[in-house]
């Protein structure tokens, strides 16, 4: 009756990697602006649909242009990267339309939440008008050449999950290195630490905010494309669920903490995988109960810094 530990770890890592990717997108924007971008889930959906179209998928009967599709489809990896870029640009556009005007007016953080929520809903509705509400599945040949699943010492994982996990790991490591080592990464961290001081040091904080939005959109788009290929697109709202999980992971790991987002994502995935089969209906409830418990014991999250208010 027991599920092997390796199987649990693999299951947890496969879903946790995606949660971490979404949470990283939230983290980037939160660290530079101090607000949560609720449109992240919608950008996740957008990434999935863009990947589908770029791979040669056609719009279904309920879409605005039934049967429309690109004359030729791209291979999975270029399509995924282009879709991530497209979602990044969409995120940048959202920043210009929904965030920049409020930022210029020095608006309350609550207004950013509302405007991002509205922008996310608008984007999802736009997707519904363009693509219809139906689900889309990627062609079975998306990962041609790979076996359906891999058996690792008795534990089984789908090949696409391995690909997904590998890409998530590469992106997380690359992003961490970029933030730590590159000039722009350091500038972004400086703005996150103290925007005023960063500005005095000659850093264009507006440009850093735009960069954060571009990257967070690209991460969401990447996640959407990967999940779409793995489990198909269940409709324009499919990203919202992942967005909510990412938000929980963000809080669990610690607001604004990159290592926290990664650890939180993996912990959330593992918590879900640990739920025994008999209680599988309680999977989400248990995962969020863990979040609740962590927040009661450590309100700043797993790796977040406690906020000290200067008086």
């Amino acid at each position: 009756m027991t599920v092997s530990l390796l199987q649990i770890l693999l299951n947890g890592a496969a879903s946790g990697g995606v949660y971490a990717l979404v949470a990283l997108g939230y983290t980037l924007v939160f660290s530079v602006l101090g607000v949560i971008n609720f449109a992240q889930g919608a950008l996740f959906s957008l990434g999935g649909y863009l990947t589908f179209l770029l791979m040669g998928g056609r719009i279904g009967v309920n879409g605005a242009l039934p049967g429309w599709g690109l004359p030729a489809g791209l291979a999975f990896v270029p399509a995924l990267l282009l879709a991530a870029a497209g979602a990044g640009l969409a995120s940048l556009l959202l920043e210009r339309l929904a965030f920049a005007p409020l930022r210029r007016r020095g608006a309350e953080p609550l207004l950013f939440l509302i405007t991002s929520l509205g922008a996310g809903l608008a984007l999802v509705n736009l997707l519904q008008i363009l693509m219809g509400a139906e689900g889309y599945a990627f062609p079975a040949t998306a990962l041609a050449g790979l076996p359906d699943s891999i058996n690792l010492w008795g534990a089984r994982i789908r090949s696409i999950q391995v690909v997904l996990l590998a890409i998530c790991a590469v992106v997380v490591v690359a992003l961490t290195l970029w933030l730590e080592r590159s000039r722009q990464g350091k500038a972004l961290r400086a703005v996150a630490e103290d925007p005023t001081t960063a500005r005095l040091l000659g850093i264009d904080s507006d440009a850093m905010v735009r960069l954060a939005f571009l990257l967070s959109g690209a991460l969401a788009g990447l996640g959407g494309g990967l999940v779409g290929v793995s489990v198909s697109l269940a409709g324009p709202y499919f990203g919202i669920g992942y967005g909510l999980k990412g938000l929980a992971v963000l809080v669990l790991g610690g607001l604004g903490s990159v290592p926290g987002a990664i650890a939180g994502g993996l912990l959330m995935g593992l918590a879900e995988a640990l739920v025994p089969a008999e209680a599988s209906g309680w999977r989400d409830a248990l995962a969020f109960a863990i979040l609740f418990a962590v927040l009661v014991l450590r309100p700043s999250g797993l790796l977040g810094r406690p906020l000290r208010e200067k008086v």
Binding site: E134, D148, R156, S230, G235, V275
Partner: protein, 487 residues
């Protein structure tokens, strides 16, 4: 003792209430009393606005309206259809829209502009075929000699995939004065929306609600979709016939779906009756799309048979991931996956799944051939699904009941409410030759259908198109009459 002068009351300059309230809202400034008064005025204004809107939107119950004489403007009867054109059940809704539209175009082709599509209904499909097949099988009933005929119009509304949207669709169409309703798509929606139609005395024909207890909601509720308790065990029997050594069964069901939970109970009862207790029962959710955890947990138990009760999108995904994770045994699925729309989701992995059906394209009757012919003309020679056939049947039974009543002059001099009651009584009294085969209703609105089928999905070489191939046909006795709940 110091004398204190009472604070002078601030003078209030009379001003229009709205600018004052708006200013207070915008600035948040002003003394506490001023703010309190402003807030009170704003609340009163809002209350008055809501009252005005309510008064403007107040409608007289259309049930009290006398029907205009046949042949005069506005004398047409409208059939409303509330089906899922958005949300996770939209795949069924698309099939249903096609079936209803084909039936309407076949049975009432001469109604000018008869196809009333609501604003949310999306692009129409299934227009009249360029060259209509010969009229066979449809009992076209004329009005009495020389009497003008009351045409049937169709209005389709998106009922979404949850209870709230279905209720909105029902309310909208009932208030617009429909004579009868087809829908909603999901049993879960029916349990919420049907009581409204029952209270308002509007006949409902459910085209796809297979959960137990739907017609028993009340006198005005009927269905043309056979109860899952009748047909679901047939596919289990077929699986056991193919592999009599089966001892280990894993069950998956969507726990947040009334239909799936009811159906899995039927499946599990059927398994228990054959001495099989599930080695793993996995609960999923309709919105789930990653099934790695439940599948690997179930596969640890080495099942020889997997039984799934879910809807098309989540169920299709589940089958695909089951196969990808190495499960090679038999798969039996419930009615939620009874649509060709699963083919693009589970693709080549759909091949071989077993399903019990209430419709077979291979039924050789004139009306089924007509239905098949019309369907193929508008769908690139594809084969219709059970859900499309049931949607056609829902329109057909209402059409035939209305026509029989007309033949007897049954609507003349009636109010809409009385016409609705008369239509319901006529509906229950009739016998119908439909693409599902000959059917009629029990007095409680439950369907009586004689023939059922077990089919196996066979996918084409492209891995994205397939068909339900008939495995065998079964005759079953009619279901027992259950006393109605809400008459």
């Amino acid at each position: 003792m110091p004398t204190s002068t009472p604070p002078s009351r601030p003078s209030v300059t009379p001003s229009p209430p709205w600018p004052e309230a708006a200013a207070i809202l915008a600035s948040g400034l002003g003394g506490p009393q001023q703010r309190q008064r402003g807030a009170l005025r704003l609340a009163l204004l809002l209350l008055a606005g809501v009252g005005l809107l309510a008064a403007a939107g107040r409608q007289v119950d259309p049930a009290q309206r006398p029907l205009p004489a046949a042949g005069t403007p506005g004398s047409d009867l409208t059939i409303g259809a509330v089906i899922a054109l958005s949300g996770n059940a939209n795949l069924y809704g698309q099939d249903q829209r096609l079936g209803i539209t084909l039936a309407r175009n076949w049975f009432d082709p001469e109604v000018p502009g008869g196809l009333g599509q609501g604003p949310s209904a999306g692009a129409p499909t299934g227009g009249p075929p360029a060259e209509a097949p010969q009229r066979i099988g449809s009992k076209r009933i004329a009005a009495p000699m020389g009497a003008p005929r009351r045409a049937l119009k169709l209005q389709i509304e998106d009922g979404g995939s949850n209870e709230t949207t279905a209720i909105s669709g029902f309310n909208l169409l009932i208030n617009r004065g429909v004579a009868a309703l087809i829908g909603p798509t999901l049993s879960q929606q029916a349990f919420a929306a049907d009581p409204i139609a029952q209270r308002r005395g509007v006949p409902v024909v459910a085209p796809s609600n297979t959960a137990k207890g739907i017609p028993q909601i009340g006198h005005f509720i009927s269905r043309v979709s056979a109860q899952s308790s009748v047909i679901a065990p047939l596919s289990v029997e077929e699986a056991l016939r193919r592999d009599p050594t089966i001892k280990r069964v894993a069950v998956f069901f969507a726990q947040d779906d009334a239909y799936s939970t009811a159906e899995t109970a039927i499946f599990q009862k059927a398994l228990a009756a054959r001495g099989l207790n599930p080695v793993s029962v996995q609960r999923t959710q309709l919105a789930d799309n990653d099934f790695q955890n439940p599948i690997t947990a179930a596969l640890q138990q080495k099942p020889q048979l997997v039984v799934i009760s879910a809807q098309a999108v989540d169920g299709g995904n589940l089958i695909r991931q089951l196969r990808e994770l190495g499960y090679r045994g038999l798969i039996v699925v419930g009615n939620g996956l009874n649509t060709p729309n699963i083919y693009p989701i589970c693709q080549r992995w759909c091949d071989g799944i077993l399903i019990a059906q209430a419709y077979s394209p291979e039924l050789a009757t004139p009306i089924n051939r007509t239905f098949l012919d019309l369907y193929r003309r508008t769908n690139a020679h594809q084969t219709p699904s059970q859900i499309t056939a049931q949607a056609w049947t829902a329109y057909q039974v209402l059409h035939e009941a209305a026509q029989r009543l007309q033949q007897r002059g049954g609507f003349n001099g009636l109010r809409l409410g009385q016409a609705r009651s008369a239509l319901m009584d006529e509906l229950l009294a009739g016998h119908y030759d439909t693409p599902l085969g000959p059917i009629h209703f029990q007095s409680d609105g439950e369907l009586v259908q004689g023939r059922f089928y077990v089919a196996e999905v066979r996918m084409g070489p492209d891995g994205r198109s397939g068909r339900f191939t008939l495995v065998h046909e079964t005759s079953l006795p009619p279901p027992a009459t259950v006393p109605p709940i809400g008459r």
